[in-house]
């Protein structure tokens, strides 16, 4: 008589126990990993989202002809116009030290902003007008609630006087918060409040493009040759082992390689996306080759046999039939390689992309920086506002990664559907 | 020739048919013997039983046919095995005809009356029957052992049977002229002799079929 209950013996008790234990351990492992991940993401988000806000301050400035000559706008002294505007607003401020504090309400970029405003709209000349300026980083932090005023005065950024002024300006409606588009429109800057990520973003895009254009075709072609055409011999085994080893080499070594060959011997422009891309492609090539070979191996040989039996040449058989089937896997491998290249700072540091880049690079030969390097630089800065920017840049980097993976998934789906 | 099949049950099925044929042959031989005894001693006591037994023989023929049909359908026999199955039905048919001859010989006993003129003929018929029975025993042995040489010998022995038949006809016809009052009996005797002669022919057929099973060759003259 068959026994379908737990008491059937058959070592059930011990085996069920092992099952439950294993599944619990697995569950716990997942929970711990996800907790760490969640903590990381929440911390970064909380810190970085602050950078999404941009504080501006409205100051009346005298743009009459004695200050600005309509025929010669560029010669005007915008800094002093701004400063006198501030002084006129707060007439009680007399001591030099206090005046300095007053001027500190507006970002040092303010004078350039004034010039840009006037050039954009010369009709504002001739009289005193209200103009919105970027607030300084301290003011920005304060308005966004990042400064703790309960702490004694000598331990905080803003003195009590400044707090009074700010409060007054606030009540007069002269302080506003806007979305920080500058973050995506500007390059790096000494002033955290106007520092933007565009230069680094474009630098990364250019470098990755160079990397992809070089490493993908080369990697795929090399893998196809090694897997499909090269005769199996001692030499091909040696090559395979070496490629596997190269994939594990620390990326900084590639940076040193780039430094000595591309910069030293070939004398290519330093810290350009061209060199960055070249170094990254050296790094990514082994990964692409390995992933492509695995993908090629997974294609059932029956398809190739069928093609050969019809009178296809080996090249035709591979490129008409094996290659398209392997392509989704190759693309996935490429994206994995790209993702590593996107986030790798060390090699780029070695070839000099650590410079302070303000202007957005327009070609692959101009000096540039990259997202991970920018993060590294900002993380290094003492100003508190830069720590917000660092987290914000990390968010941008992660979003970029997610987009790349999404692109990979979509491309993969598209190719698989065609089959 | 007889390697075992990989599927043991196939061998069992073939063996079964073989044994059924041997059983049928044994029974037919008994019938021939019984009919001959009844003839020579003018004894009608066992004739009814003999006639009843003939039905059993017909039943065995049917069974063998069915079993052969099953082997062909279920086992898809090839070459030698196919011939074993197909020719089993032919051999069973021949045995069934033999059984019929035994039955009709037995039935004729009732119609015979003792007479001195027929005595010599009757003993010749007894001789014919003896040879035919021996032939049957031999052909069954040849079938059992797949012995084509033995099968060939049977064809030779049939010549004796044919000779005896001719002799009996001549003698009987002579007796009819001399003793017209015994005509009826003598005619029956002529017919009896022809029965046994036909029986011999059927046994020769079986011998030919044994040869065909073993070699695939059909010895019957066709053209």
């Amino acid at each position: 008589m068959i026994n379908l209950t737990k008491s059937a013996g058959l070592n059930l008790h011990k085996r069920n126990g092992a099952e439950i234990l294993f599944q619990s351990v697995g569950m716990i492992a997942i929970i711990i990993s996800l907790s760490f991940l969640a903590w990381l993401i929440i911390t970064i988000l909380m810190n970085g989202l602050g950078a999404a806000k941009h504080v501006e301050i409205k100051i009346p400035v005298d743009l009459s002809s004695q200050n600005v000559d309509p025929d010669n706008i560029n010669d005007a002294s915008f800094g002093s116009i701004l400063k006198s505007g501030l002084r006129k607003k707060f007439v009680d401020v007399k001591i030099r030290k206090d005046k300095k504090k007053l001027y500190n309400l507006v970002s040092p970029e303010g004078s350039f902003e004034l010039k840009r405003e006037i050039l954009k709209d010369p009709t504002v000349l001739g009289e005193t007008t209200d103009i919105w300026f970027s607030a300084s980083d301290d003011l920005s932090l304060f308005i966004r609630g990042r400064v703790d005023i309960n702490v004694p005065e000598d331990q905080r950024q803003l003195s009590d006087k400044e707090v009074t002024w700010i409060t007054q300006l606030k009540t007069e409606g002269r302080i506003r918060i806007k979305p920080n588009w500058n973050f995506f429109k500007n390059g790096d800057s000494r002033e955290p409040e106007i520092a933007g990520i565009l230069a680094a973003l474009v630098g990364s895009i250019l470098s990755l493009s160079v990397c992809f254009i070089l490493s993908f075709p080369l990697g795929v072609a090399a893998a196809t040759y090694l897997e499909q055409f090269a005769p199996k011999s001692r030499l091909s085994d040696v090559i395979e082992v070496n490629i596997n080893n190269l994939a594990a080499v620390p990326s900084i070594v590639f940076g040193l390689l780039g430094l000595s060959i591309f910069l030293g011997y070939f004398d290519l422009p330093r810290s350009s996306p061209l060199v960055g891309g070249l170094v990254l492609s050296l790094m990514t090539l082994p990964t692409i080759i390995i992933a492509s070979r695995a993908s090629l191996r997974s294609v059932p040989p029956s398809i190739k046999e069928a093609a050969l039996a019809l009178g296809a040449t080996p090249v035709q058989a591979v490129f008409h039939h094996v290659f398209p089937v392997a392509l989704p896997g190759m693309l996935t491998g490429a994206i994995v390689g790209m993702a590593r290249a996107l986030g790798d700072t060390a090699p780029l540091l070695m070839i000099g992309m650590v410079a302070f880049i303000v202007d957005v690079p327009k070609s692959i030969l101009e000096p540039a920086t990259a997202l991970p390097v920018q993060i590294f630089l900002w993380a290094d800065s003492p100003e508190r506002a830069f720590s917000e920017k660092t987290s914000a840049a990390i968010i941008v980097l992660l979003l970029f990664l997610i987009l790349m993976n999404l692109a990979a998934v979509i491309m993969r789906r598209k190719f698989e559907k065609r089959l | 020739m007889e390697n075992e099949h990989i599927v043991g049950k196939f061998d069992d099925d073939l063996d079964r048919i073989k044994n059924e044929i041997l059983e049928m042959g044994k029974l037919v031989k008994k019938q021939l013997q019984g009919a001959t005894n009844a003839l020579l001693s003018f004894d009608t006591d066992d004739v009814d039983a003999l006639i009843t037994t003939d039905r059993r023989i017909n039943g065995m023929n049917k069974t063998i046919f069915r079993h052969a049909e099953q082997i062909i359908a279920m086992r898809q026999p090839m070459a030698l095995d196919l011939r074993l199955a197909l020719l089993a039905t032919s051999i069973a048919s021949e045995l069934e005809r033999l059984g019929d001859y035994a039955k009709s010989a037995a039935k004729r006993v009732r119609k015979l009356t003792e007479s001195s003129s027929g005595e010599k003929t009757l003993s010749l018929i007894g001789e014919m029957s003896r040879i035919v029975q021996e032939m049957l025993t031999e052909v069954l042995m040849a079938y059992k052992k797949n012995d084509i040489e033995k099968a060939a010998e049977i064809r030779v022995r049939d010549i004796d049977v044919d000779e005896l038949n001719k002799k009996i006809q001549k003698t009987a016809i002579k007796s009819i002229r001399e003793f017209p009052e015994d005509t009826e009996t003598l005619v029956h005797l002529i017919l009896l002799a022809r029965n046994f002669e036909r029986a011999g022919d059927h046994i020769v057929n079986i011998a030919r079929q044994v040869h065909q099973i073993v070699t695939g060759e059909d010895l019957k003259a066709s053209n």
Binding site: I303 | L80, L82
Partner: protein
């Protein structure tokens, strides 16, 4: 007994896989426009022999072949032979249906395209239609020629592979156990198809089903442990073979 003349003949054909010999001294003639089946137990060398004909054994590095294998009197193992040309004129259908992951039309057209056998798009389409009709698949697929070949059932896929092979009008079609992955009805459809196309094509078929060999072929060759034991008219091989080993094999006997 060669009625149409032999199209393939081998002389002293030996095949080695490394040190292991797989075929011993094969002398076999294949008749033109007939179906010849190669039967024998597993590992007897029948598939190996088949793959010698279109030199698919070249793909196995340790495989060495000595002797002659002639098609139309020309030795296919002669160094001057262009293997691509050989394979374009000797078609093959494999055990497991392997249509390309492309549309039905592209599958059938592939051989025509790469070998440049048609000169216009309409001619190509005509050939595709002819092949699919000859393979008995046209009625089932004419309305969906651009659908993926892999969407067909197993039996249909195999017929597609047959259509693909005959599209290039090969001299010989080799079939390596073409029905072993198919159910009885799909098998019967393909056997019927083989009967039809053998009017025009020479077919060599390897099969492990003796019943199939008996149903489908005109001539049968029996291989055992790498040797050619017996070859002859199928009807005779299966009713009265000359060699005891053949008889043992076809009746399912040990030895």
């Amino acid at each position: 007994m060669s009625m149409n003349g032999s199209i393939i003949d081998t002389k002293n054909l030996d095949v080695f896989y490394g040190n292991k010999q797989a075929l011993f001294n094969i002398d076999l003639e294949i008749e033109e426009k007939q179906v010849t089946s190669l039967i024998g137990p597993s590992g007897c060398g029948k598939s190996t022999f088949l793959r010698c004909i279109n030199r698919m054994n070249d793909l196995i590095p340790i495989c060495k072949i000595t002797g002659k294998l002639n098609i139309d009197g020309q030795d296919v193992y002669d160094p001057s032979v262009n293997v691509v040309a050989l394979r374009a004129q000797v078609g093959m259908v494999f055990q497991k249906p392997n249509p390309f992951p492309k549309s039905i039309r592209e599958n059938v057209a592939y051989g025509l395209k790469i070998n440049g056998l048609t000169s216009s798009k309409s001619e190509l389409n005509d050939r595709v239609e002819w092949s699919l009709k000859a393979a008995g698949l046209w009625n089932e697929v004419e309305s969906r020629l651009d659908d993926p070949g892999l969407g067909l059932s197993g039996g249909q896929q195999q017929r597609l592979c047959i259509a693909r092979a005959i599209a290039v009008r090969p001299r010989v079609i080799l079939m390596d156990e073409p029905c072993s992955a198919l159910d009885p009805i799909a098998t019967a459809i393909i056997e019927d198809l083989i009967n039809e196309i053998s009017q025009e094509f020479t077919i060599v078929i390897v099969t492990h089903s003796m019943a199939q060999a008996a149903r489908v072929s005109n001539r049968t060759a029996f291989f055992h442990l790498g040797e050619l034991i017996e070859v002859g008219v199928t009807k005779e091989i299966f009713t009265n073979p000359s060699n005891e080993k053949t008889q043992n094999y076809i009746t399912g006997r040990i030895g």
